[in-house]
């Protein structure tokens, strides 16, 4: 199996090199004419599919590999588990909902809009209950934000483990949300009863069995948190919290409560299971960090990557990747081909989105030389994405969450790519 794959890859590479060589060396007349061009194809003579065939479309069958995948051994049950966005196969920045990663603690639930209730209680002037329709009557905003699970890249703390950008970095998606600012709803209930807002919190929980309650400091709640009901223009998917989820820009995905049912204004953090026993970071000396909410700047090359080997001949090649920061905008991404000895600036696909994915490209050449590909993001605060050594030096190796280290892909002379760790 192995040798067969390798042989066919080599044969393919050689073949493509020959074609590329031919196009340069020989005149066009020496080539055999391409039947795809010279012969009339079926699709060019018969008719296609009518507009009444597909009321809601899925990607064409040829793209069936571009799907979420999970890693069975990670969790005890797929009901309380995670899967990964196929970031290796996507471009641009917006993640289609259908392949955006899911993380549930008690499974994804079906909650009708008619059955949806959102309660605001605690230290408010008037505890309120909203229906779904109520939410759509408040002024709303649209924003693009990334949502990254704090455990993204968590399996890589101790060393290179999973062979694919989907698995090492796929606990992330990036969507355009439509929703009501949380501050609008808090104002509606009235914060007079809360007194000084400086040391106040909101506790948010979902309607599912896990409830996944989290405490958010009031300052953040009044800043940019959204109560969202649409993503990428359409209703949220069930697995992302239909009909209403919380969007907490730049902060770890676990706080983005799905199937949102209750917002409580409180004078202390609840210290729920999700913010004590989980989503806390154990450092080398055994002490833990809590309230590590912000996702620091990070990037990864999505192509080439282990699932996206180089399968073209030598010459022009596009290195493509994603960068993001929970602190704001990505201002620069550097790419290295030699494992961090030399770096060059990548081209940012679209700049300026705060707390959203930024696409980067390095328009370069590959001539069959082995490479150790790395990318390094910088955000508007001046923070530079650290190496794995820097992270380990600061925190040790017994951590799970918030691994934002520089990733290395080894590209061999055949264009095969592998997840490695380097000196």
């Amino acid at each position: 199996m192995d040798s067969k794959m390798k042989t066919s890859r080599r044969a393919f590479l050689k073949g493509s090199v020959a074609i590329a060589g031919g196009s340069v060396a020989a005149s066009a007349g020496a080539m055999e004419a391409d039947p795809l061009i010279t012969e009339v194809q079926d699709w060019a003579t018969a008719t296609g599919v009518g507009v009444d065939e597909t009321p809601y479309g899925l990607p064409i069958s040829f793209e069936k590999d571009v799907v979420r995948r999970n890693v069975e051994w990670l969790t005890a049950s797929p009901i309380s588990s995670i899967n990964f966005t196929p970031i290796h196969a996507l471009d641009g920045t917006i993640t289609p909902q259908g392949c955006a990663f899911e993380r549930h603690h008690s499974g994804a639930i079906e909650l009708r809009k008619e059955d949806f209730r959102l309660m605001i209680n605690g230290l408010v002037d008037k505890p309120l209950v909203f229906s779904y329709q109520d939410l759509e009557r408040f002024p709303r905003e649209n924003h693009v934000y990334f949502c990254e699970c704090a455990a993204n890249t968590g399996m890589e703390w101790a060393g290179a483990q999973l062979n694919g950008a989907q698995f090492t970095h796929g606990m992330i998606h990036n969507m355009e949300y439509s929703g009501v600012p949380l501050r609008t709803l808090l104002t509606e209930a009235g914060l007079g009863a809360a007194g000084d807002l400086k040391d106040k919190w909101v506790y948010v929980e979902g309607a599912d069995a896990s409830s996944n309650g989290r405490s958010i400091p009031m300052e953040k709640a009044l800043d940019d948190v959204l109560v969202a009901f649409k993503a990428n223009g359409e209703a949220l998917r069930m697995e992302h919290g239909y009909p209403v989820r919380l969007v907490v820009p730049g902060w770890e995905g676990n706080m983005w409560i799905k199937w949102l049912r209750r917002i409580e204004v409180a004078d202390a953090a609840v210290e729920s299971r999700e913010e004590t026993s989980k989503y806390t970071d154990v450092y080398e000396d055994g002490t833990a960090r809590k309230w590590t909410w912000v996702m620091d700047a990070k990037s990864v090359i999505t192509s080439p990557s282990p699932q996206m080997p180089i399968n073209h001949s030598r010459g022009p090649m596009v290195v493509s990747g994603l960068a993001w920061s929970g602190h704001g905008k990505i201002t620069r991404v550097d790419v290295s081909k030699d494992g961090g000895i030399t770096w060059e600036k990548a081209r940012l696909g679209r700049q300026g989105d705060s707390k959203a994915l930024t696409r980067f490209y390095l328009d370069t050449e590959w001539n069959g030389e082995p490479m150790l590909l790395q990318s390094r993001a910088m955000d508007e605060t001046g923070y530079v994405q650290p190496t794995k050594q820097q992270l380990r030096e600061s925190r040790g190796e017994n951590s799970v969450y918030h691994n934002n280290c520089i990733q290395t892909w080894f590209v061999d002379e055949n264009g095969v790519v592998e997840n490695v760790e380097v000196s």
Binding site: T187, S210, N367, N419, E421
Partner: protein
């Protein structure tokens, strides 16, 4: 000097000075006393009065203009602030939703019964706890019935399900065992979570008393209470968890942000780079049907990257090589084989090599540490294997130079190779036996 000229010159003096009227007056009076007779004083006084009025008008105009300037400056400041804000927002030009302090009058007041049904969270100080009690004995029964299928009879965890007991003093290990006993800082969290979200698939079915009993049993299974212990809303908040002081609020801003916010290196950032670990050896990536997501690159294909060579040597007409460019130096290999005599007592290498008192060394370069079947490794090498560490030139050089220093706890009773040239040679020899 004509009056028009004089008033003009006064104008010029007075204009920039709002309070200059008095000065103009005294100048005019001095001039009058020198050049004109007493009989002209009254007409002069009229002129002075006129000049004063003009000066005042000019002063008003000046302050009006100053106000316009101030206004413009404020507008510029506004524009600059807007530009800054816009720049800060980048392409996110969303206008903020309007704010209405009086509210929109949407939603309805939540009823007390509704709040009671949903607001069930429990805080560390015990707020939110309902009245009730449960002892270890009862807890053991309820736990066996409702929890043990996943968490085990003794809270030890079945398969991949969470372990709830034990793990004390493992938090500083590389794989800390984070249980209720060893890690959870607050008892309220246990009560809250069990009551709200457990049992898995039957959440919110436990009574308050059952919850107290289960929590008491979990404490007992962690040896934190005796078997006659009863937990209730009365003694709840007096119970301190083992790891209550083990948490610090996020200190990344102080610990890392400043240190990692310096201008990054772009060239010659390190002398050389070697692969120290490869994901393929762990073989933990899921496969799909016949199509594997894994690749199967051979270990010896991994090159070392050196500053100023790997990146610059990428000429367009270079052939794509079929094998890794690692030609062995025959003389060095021969020298290495001699050095290897020191190792032969314990290690075999070559065709049919078997484990002796040391593991066989075929394919050593690129081999996972501690990975030879049938050899009883030290704990140190077993740990190295679990970490996925791989033998390469750097690791082997360090190990063979000072085995006990490099791998604390190794069973290999060999002091190490002192001469650098011997080290290089034996490693070259072992590299050839790896191919």
């Amino acid at each position: 000097m004509g009056s028009s000229r004089m008033s003009k010159s006064l104008n010029q003096i007075v204009l920039p000075v709002a309070g200059g009227t008095a000065l103009a007056l005294s100048v005019a009076l001095v001039v009058a006393n020198l050049d004109y007779g007493q009989n002209k004083i009254s007409s002069l006084e009229q002129r002075v009065e006129q000049a004063t009025l003009q000066a005042e008008a000019a002063g008003r105009k000046a302050s009006e203009e100053a106000a316009v300037v101030a206004d413009l400056q404020a507008k510029i400041a506004d524009l600059q602030a807007f530009a800054k804000e816009t720049a800060a927002r980048g392409t996110d030009l969303t206008e903020k939703a309007p704010k209405k302090d009086t509210g929109y009058g949407l939603g309805r007041e939540a009823l007390i019964a509704e709040i009671a049904a949903w607001d069930v969270d429990v805080l560390p100080d015990g707020r939110g706890l309902p009245a009730g009690r449960g002892d270890v004995f009862t807890g053991e029964e309820v736990f066996a019935d409702k929890c043990a299928s996943c968490h085990g009879d003794f809270a030890e965890g079945v398969d991949n399900w969470p372990v709830l007991a034990g793990g004390f003093d493992t938090l500083a290990d590389k794989d800390p065992v984070k249980t209720v006993g060893s890690y959870w800082p607050y008892l309220s969290t246990v009560w809250d979570y069990v009551h709200r979200s457990m049992p898995f698939g039957e959440a919110q079915t436990l009574t308050a008393d059952e919850t107290y009993a289960i929590v008491a049993y979990i404490l007992y299974s962690n040896d934190l209470v005796d078997d006659d212990f009863e937990l209730s809303h009365e003694n709840f908040s007096s119970f301190d968890m083992y790891n209550k002081d083990g948490f610090v609020v996020d200190d990344r801003p102080d610990r890392e942000y400043a240190r990692w916010s310096t201008e990054p290196c772009m060239e010659n950032c390190k002398p050389s780079v070697e692969i120290t670990m490869r994901a393929t050896f762990l073989n933990v990536t899921p496969e799909e049907g016949d199509e594997t997501l894994m690749n199967h690159a051979a270990v010896e294909d991994a090159p070392t990257f050196v500053a100023n060579t790997a990146t610059t040597d990428s000429g367009g007409d270079k052939e794509v090589p079929d094998t890794a460019p690692l030609a062995a130096d025959p003389a060095l290999v021969a020298a290495g084989e001699k050095v290897f005599k020191k190792c032969k007592a314990c290690h075999a290498v070559g065709d049919g090599a078997k484990n002796k008192s040391g593991p066989q060394l075929n394919g050593l370069m690129g081999r996972m540490m501690g990975s030879v079947d049938g050899f009883k490794y030290s704990k140190a090498f077993k740990a190295a294997m679990e970490e996925g560490r791989v033998w390469n030139e750097v690791e082997l050089t360090a190990f063979l130079a000072k085995p006990k220093a490099y791998m604390k706890g190794t069973k290999m009773s060999f002091a190490g190779i002192r001469k650098d040239q011997d080290l290089t040679a034996v490693i070259e020899f072992l590299r050839t036996t790896s191919e």
